[in-house]
């Protein structure tokens, strides 16, 4: 159980780095960011500050400079009082003060935001978070940024992961997800502002609220997943390109280039957004001069260059795992394609595409269905009508981007740069319906109330136990993943390094090696690999024991059902630890301890 003082420390570890990133952004905003005020201004500052801070962390950690929360506090203190804190002018388009409905929606959004931030400070119980995001950050806080053999995720972009370095360095890995929560708030702020401009303050405030309540946000915000961050950068780039198309200034394109670079620094496949945004400004009715495009392209390249250099140094190719001849990289991409097909087993044809779109609102697939909520599909199409060229260009580019998403990355979380536009469209569609008479307004209000009630209930079930877990984190972890808690207890008794078959790496009390090929990038832990080769590789990585899940009958006959281990047992390269209780794994399986000789 944590004491009140320890909870305050945890809050500090989560919030202080975030405040430092925000202040960095506020400092840079007048030169590099778009014109904005209020929550939108904070959102743009957050995007700018996190992107720049991440690059600074990359450079400093590459040479081993320690960056605890205290360092973030010093940065925040140095930047705290400065002139650009002054509010910007209220844009003429905002018009009259907010209506009571907008104020109530904003107040509700404030409560939702507070719940999301607090829930983000609970233990990491989201799979990719504890399996590779947090272990990667931990590895890069224990030593400088370097190649990490047996951890292939260290060779990919990790710009957003690096933002958790201060919290993890100071021993508060539970605070890492505060960054993701920050991006959820930023997305809500950007959607709110854009929907206000395109519809009304009430529609904007409601759109911001429903962004925070959307199932996808509730799922991702309290985790150390980076998809909301990639989504915020990508959406930001689209917003600024659209702003340029509508008569904006070259500074909008500077901001768009920065957002694109930050997105690519966070996930390499987000680089596809760069040609998409370029296409948007070329067909949006106001193509920029070549010199403007070249200078923004050069800026983009300069901002992604540190990651190109890092990856070239540690993986041998600046674009690893793309465009290389490395057989491991090729096999990795092959495996990912198989995973994408298995996660969403729908034929990649026009009917499958329509099915996928429908599933985003109502379906049963864990990775896709219902995660954007019903309102984009229910209200978004109602916004269609007589649209200007800039908006048609936006619709066209985002529509085209859906095709590669459907083929290669069908999970809903990969579409985060596009989904916010659906929220904006829903706001415009809702505004149109609300203006269509009393009956329409009444039905709309009832539908929104029903959706809000449902989403608040779902969010409460997901988030409130996490808020309670701030006090008792271990009990929460045990309740969420009893098998991983048992694995942790098994690993505690094993000589390190301990090989484990995927799972909550960041929970483990000793150094572990992930036996899942998708994570280690070098070893298929099955009959595809010759036993001698597998054993030699594990010894090279310092692995001295394994904790494995074994189906019944549990290994009374000395066999585990893992082909490599059974071969080692037969050849006496390994033994089963008989004096260790077999703790329960998933379903009927038990964890067993195997000692390598």
């Amino acid at each position: 159980m944590r004491t009140a003082a320890e909870i305050v420390e945890l809050l500090g570890a989560g919030l202080v780095p975030c405040i430092a990133y925000l202040l960095v952004g506020l400092r840079l905003l007048p030169r590099l960011g778009p014109e904005a005020r209020g929550a939108e201004r904070l959102a743009w500052a957050w995007l700018l500050g996190t992107g720049v801070a991440s690059l600074a962390i990359l450079l400093l950690r590459s040479v081993g400079v320690p960056l605890p929360v205290f360092a973030a506090a010093v940065v925040a203190a140095l930047l705290w009082p400065f002139r650009s804190f002054r509010r910007g002018e209220r844009p003429a388009s905002e018009g009259s003060p907010a209506a009571p409905l907008a104020r109530r929606a904003d107040a509700a959004a404030g409560v939702a935001a507070a719940a999301i931030v607090l829930a983000a400070l609970a233990p990491e119980t989201y799979w990719d978070g504890f399996e590779y995001h947090l272990p990667l950050v931990a590895a890069w806080t224990e030593g400088p940024i370097r190649a990490l053999p047996g951890m292939i995720d260290a060779e990919f972009r990790a710009g957003l992961d690096l933002l958790a370095v201060p919290a993890v360095t100071s021993g508060f890995s539970d605070a890492a997800a505060s960054v993701s929560a920050g991006f959820a708030l930023a997305l809500a702020g950007l959607v709110r502002a854009e929907a206000t401009r395109r519809a009304s303050p009430a529609a904007g405030a409601l759109a911001g609220l429903f962004v925070l309540l959307a199932p996808l946000t509730v799922e991702l915000a309290p985790s150390s997943y980076v998809d909301l961050g990639v989504g915020a950068y990508g959406f930001g780039a689209f917003l600024l390109a659209d702003r340029w198309n509508r008569g904006g200034t070259p500074r909008d394109l500077t901001g768009a280039a920065l957002c694109l670079a930050f997105a690519a620094n966070a996930k390499l496949h987000a680089a596809v957004l760069a040609p998409a945004v370029l296409g948007l400004v070329l067909v949006g009715g106001r193509p920029p001069a070549l010199s403007v495009l070249v200078s923004r392209g050069a800026l983009l390249l300069a901002v992604v260059a540190p990651w190109l250099v890092k990856t070239a140094l540690t993986a041998g190719s600046p674009f690893f795992p793309l465009f290389g001849t490395d057989p491991d990289a090729a096999r990795y991409l092959e495996l990912r394609a198989v995973r994408a097909a298995a996660n969403y087993p729908v034929a990649r044809d026009p009917l499958g595409f329509a099915t996928w779109l429908a599933s985003l609102s109502f379906g049963r697939n864990l990775h896709v269905s219902g995660l954007v909520g019903p309102l984009p599909l229910a209200l978004g199409p109602l916004a269609l009508g007589h649209l200007p060229r800039a908006t048609w260009a936006l619709v066209g580019v985002c529509g085209l981007l859906l095709v590669p998403l459907f083929f290669f990355l069908p999970a809903a979380r990969f579409g985060t740069p596009i989904w916010p536009w659906l929220a904006v469209a829903a706001a415009v569609g809702g505004w149109r319906l609300a203006a269509s008479g009393r009956l329409a307004r009444a039905v709309l209000a009832a539908a929104l109330a029903l959706v809000a009630l449902h989403q608040v209930a779902v969010a409460a079930v997901a988030l409130l136990p996490r808020v309670a877990a701030l006090r008792a984190p271990a009990a929460y972890e045990r309740a969420r993943f009893p098998d991983q808690d048992a694995l942790r207890r098994m690993v505690a008794q094993a000589p390190p390094v301990v090989g484990i078959p995927m799972g909550a790496i960041s929970w483990m009390p000793q150094p572990v090696y992930n036996l899942l090929w998708e994570r280690n990038g070098e070893l298929y832990f099955d009959e595809r690999t010759p036993p001698d080769r597998a054993l030699a590789l594990l010894r090279e990585r310092g692995v001295r024991s394994l904790v494995l899940d074994v189906e019944p009958p549990h290994p009374d006959d000395g066999r585990t059902g893992h082909p490599l281990v059974d071969a080692w047992l037969a050849e006496q390269h390994a033994t089963l630890a008989r004096d260790v209780p077999l703790l329960p794994a998933r379903k009927q399986s038990r964890w067993v301890l195997v000692l390598l000789r």
Partner: protein
């Protein structure tokens, strides 16, 4: 009137309004059925 004001779609009327409302109610109910009851035509 700003440029954004000018491009705002006009309110619905007549059969278009009825269709829009039916669409809204259908999508919301199908979503709730899929999320809470697991009833869906889609995977």
């Amino acid at each position: 009137m700003t440029e954004r004001d000018a491009e705002r779609p006009r309110p619905f009327a007549g059969w278009r309004r009825a269709l829009a409302l039916a669409w809204l109610v259908t999508v919301v109910l199908l979503h709730l059925a899929a999320r809470e009851l697991g009833v869906s035509l889609f995977p």
